[in-house]
């Protein structure tokens, strides 16, 4: 069994994972935040694309479960010498990996690796496709804050078209009962929202008064050499979470961001530091969620 996507996962399974993450949060709050659940297991982090926080989070989660961790990053590795992804994956399996955490710039790469190796794989981000543990840690953060996601009104703002975080969140949030609105200019919206249980708009100001959650995505002016909007200042003027826009949100509304943040672009400095910006809660919950996922995939197998 692998964890490759949030799309199509039944609500019950998502909730069980969140319940398990709650328990691991209690473990993490103990004086010695560590359990022997995965002693003797080897978790391999295969990061073919740069990442610091996600890799650290998985590493922390694996160690808190007493698993051994092996880190592989593409830079300076066999991949740079022309080794195929398949050979790399088979090599990591031969080194004894019981589970692989995979980040890759190509959609579907984790799924291929799972098929090649027969080992459980956790997708830590594949292209613009999915980043399911991010979706789950965001869901956990919202459940902690609001008690549940039923009826919650979430606006996801930014480069949705190229965002694996958006795809993971849309399907996790809506399966758990939230309503999601995608907010972006047309060039950053998915080309088709067929199969997405969402609304879409290009008018952030129009939805500010009616949302419980604003989820801001990281913005890059250049995507693969294509310009997707005219300029950063123009983007900020329409979609930036400025202090002024933040003040127009309902009093209980919160702001999330998957990091790393571009302060002054998608999020204003003053908003990023506000108590209703839950960015650091998200980071902390990431460890618990990843513990829950690793335990689910490797625990109980002896």
């Amino acid at each position: 069994m692998s964890f490759l996507t949030t799309r199509g996962v039944p609500r019950k399974d998502l909730e069980e994972l969140l319940d398990s993450a709650d328990e691991f949060n209690r473990v993490l709050a103990r004086p010695i935040p560590k359990v022997p659940a995965l002693q003797g297991k080897l978790v391999a982090n295969l990061f073919f694309e740069d990442s610091t926080r996600t890799r650290l989070s998985f590493e922390r989660a694996a160690r808190a479960l007493s698993a051994d961790v092996m880190n592989f990053s593409a830079a300076g590795s066999s991949a740079a010498k022309g080794e195929s992804l398949k050979d790399t994956a088979l090599t990591i399996r031969a080194l004894g990996a019981d589970l692989m955490v995979v980040r890759h710039k190509a959609a579907g790469a984790p799924r291929r690796i799972a098929a090649w190796t027969g080992r459980p794989v956790v997708n830590a981000g594949d292209g613009a496709h999915q980043h399911p543990t991010q979706g789950m840690l965001d869901a956990l953060t919202l459940r902690q804050r609001f008690g549940g996601l039923d009826g919650l009104r979430v606006a996801i703002v930014g480069d949705i078209r190229h965002s694996r975080v958006a795809r993971s969140n849309v399907f996790a949030f809506t399966a758990l009962g939230a309503g999601v609105t995608l907010v972006a200019p047309r060039t950053l919206q998915p080309v088709s929202t067929g199969g997405w249980p969402v609304d879409a708009t290009d008018d952030l100001d129009g939805v500010l008064g009616e949302v419980d959650v604003v989820y801001l995505l990281r913005i890059q002016a250049e995507r693969g050499g294509l310009s997707v909007f005219p300029s950063l200042p123009e983007y900020v003027s329409r979609y930036g979470m400025t202090r002024d826009r933040f003040d127009r949100l309902p009093a209980e509304a919160v702001v999330l961001h998957p990091g790393p943040m571009n302060r002054g672009v998608e999020i204003d400095d003053a908003v990023a530091g506000h108590p209703r910006a839950l960015v650091l809660d998200q980071v902390a919950n990431g460890v618990a969620v990843r513990m829950a996922v690793l335990f689910r995939l490797l625990g109980g197998s002896g």
Binding site: R7, S84, K86, G108, G127, H129, R164, G224
Partner: protein, 444 residues
């Protein structure tokens, strides 16, 4: 000269389907003798004594050998994927007697000596006629015209930058004007580079869910519309390769209604599969143009049946297993098709035999000016023939091609090639693996 008697098949003649004995001699069809239904008839009765070999075709349909106006044989330059010998063997196994080899080799076929190398090599192998297509632009650079006269003199009749699109309308116009006087057909891989850039699959629901950049159907349609206007302006023969969507079909229909010298082809895989298959992210479903939604596949089937699309063509694009066994976005585009084309088209269209042989032999032979092929069977024609079991069901596995990147692997298809005859010689016989090893012969 050896003589082969093909006994008792349903023979596709200029006058329709006739149960007949067909004698091949001297590389030609020597005789077509209708079989009178009678009791106690022996196979090929009278003639059998004279023939060196008698092949019983009872229950089979014998038609003109298939002609593929769009295949990548990869030689020279990428022989680990395919070469002219293995590609010819694959073609023969698919019932083909002629194949137009796309010019995006290394080096690209942009001058006469390169074209001659390919046709000479095809003759050495001797399993099918290998007709080189020539580049429109030198080195496929999209900027300068290739040596069109030289290519024409070397026998090239199909000119294309396939794999790339001649995106510069002024350049394409000049190529059309130049070739209109000369002859030959301009074949375009219609894909606007600005609309398709970075794309890996059809732009739509599936690509949006997978977060992959898409290639919209529009990328094909806008180029087709522009090119059809240029063809009308210049009077040049224009051929649209691997049509993938309903909108392009509509444009072709309209152009033909105006009498423009326009032809089109569709691949067997675009008839059977859709972008729903690409949702698996299995690279065996990656090719350009990409698989479109099911409604487009239905429109393509109907267009091929009607004749708005003239011909089926494989776009046989072999890749080594290790090249395709990577994530979808990193995989090379293209799938093989020579050995499954007949059965795939037969299965998709459920046509009568005459219609199928028209779309897979007569029409493509005319487009490619391959006059020794695509002729209904009568005495005197070159003996380029295919015998097929029309209703046989089989499951696709194992290939004569060097590569096996076929989306049809494991699919059950109807219709199976049993024998192929090229210039009077048996070049393929189902179940006889010996025929899969290409023989090297001199020119027939």
């Amino acid at each position: 000269m050896s003589e082969i008697l093909l006994a008792g098949g349903a023979v596709l003649t200029p006058d329709g389907e006739v149960k007949a004995d067909v004698t091949l001699s001297g590389g030609r069809v020597a005789a077509v003798e209708p079989v009178r239904e009678g009791v106690g008839r022996e196979i090929g009765a009278g003639r059998a004594r004279a023939a060196d070999r008698v092949i019983d075709l009872s229950g089979l349909v014998l038609g003109p050998g298939f002609v593929d106006i769009h295949a990548h044989l990869r030689e020279p330059g990428q022989e680990w994927k395919e070469d002219i010998a293995s590609g010819s063997a694959a073609a023969a196994a698919g019932g083909f007697t002629a194949v137009v080899a796309m010019p995006n080799t290394d080096p690209p076929t942009d001058s006469g000596h390169l074209a001659r190398y390919i046709s000479d090599r095809g003759r050495q192998v001797g399993l099918v006629e290998v007709a080189p297509a020539g580049c429109i632009t030198a080195g496929l650079d999209g900027a300068r015209l290739a040596h069109l006269d030289e290519l024409f003199a070397a026998g090239v009749r199909v000119f294309t930058d396939d794999g790339m699109t001649v995106a510069d309308a002024g350049l394409l116009r000049r190529a059309m004007e130049y070739l209109e006087a000369r002859g030959g057909v301009i074949a375009q891989h219609a894909e606007d580079p600005g609309l398709s850039r970075g794309g890996h699959m059809h732009e739509g629901e599936v690509s949006s869910l997978l977060g992959m950049a898409g290639i919209p159907a529009l990328a094909e349609t806008v180029v087709a519309a522009r090119d059809l206007a240029l063809a009308e302006l210049t009077g040049a023969s224009y051929h649209i390769q691997h049509v993938s969507c309903a909108e392009t079909v509509d444009l072709i229909r309209a152009a033909k209604a105006k009498g423009a010298p326009v032809t089109a082809e569709v691949t067997p895989h675009h008839l059977r599969f859709s972008d729903r298959h690409a949702a698996s992210m299995d690279p065996v479903f990656k090719m350009y143009p990409p698989l479109r939604p099911p409604a487009d596949a239905e429109a393509l089937i109907e267009a091929l049946r009607e004749g708005v699309i003239d011909a089926a063509a494989t776009d046989h694009a072999p890749h080594a297993a290790h090249e395709k066994d990577v994530p979808f976005e990193e995989a090379p585009k293209g799938v093989t098709g020579l050995e499954t084309a007949f059965a795939a088209v037969r299965s998709a269209l459920d046509p009568d035999p005459r219609l199928l042989f028209r779309r897979m032999s007569v029409a493509p032979a005319a487009i490619g000016a391959l006059h020794r092929h695509g002729r209904w069977i009568e005495p005197g024609i070159p003996a380029n023939l295919a015998a097929v079991a029309w209703d046989e069901e089989w499951t696709v596995e194992g290939f004569a091609s060097r590569s096996s990147n076929s989306p049809f692997v494991g699919e059950t298809l109807t219709g199976r090639v049993r024998y192929t005859f090229y210039e009077g010689r048996l070049t393929y016989e189902l179940g006889n693996s010996g025929s899969r090893t290409p023989e090297v012969r001199g020119a027939p």
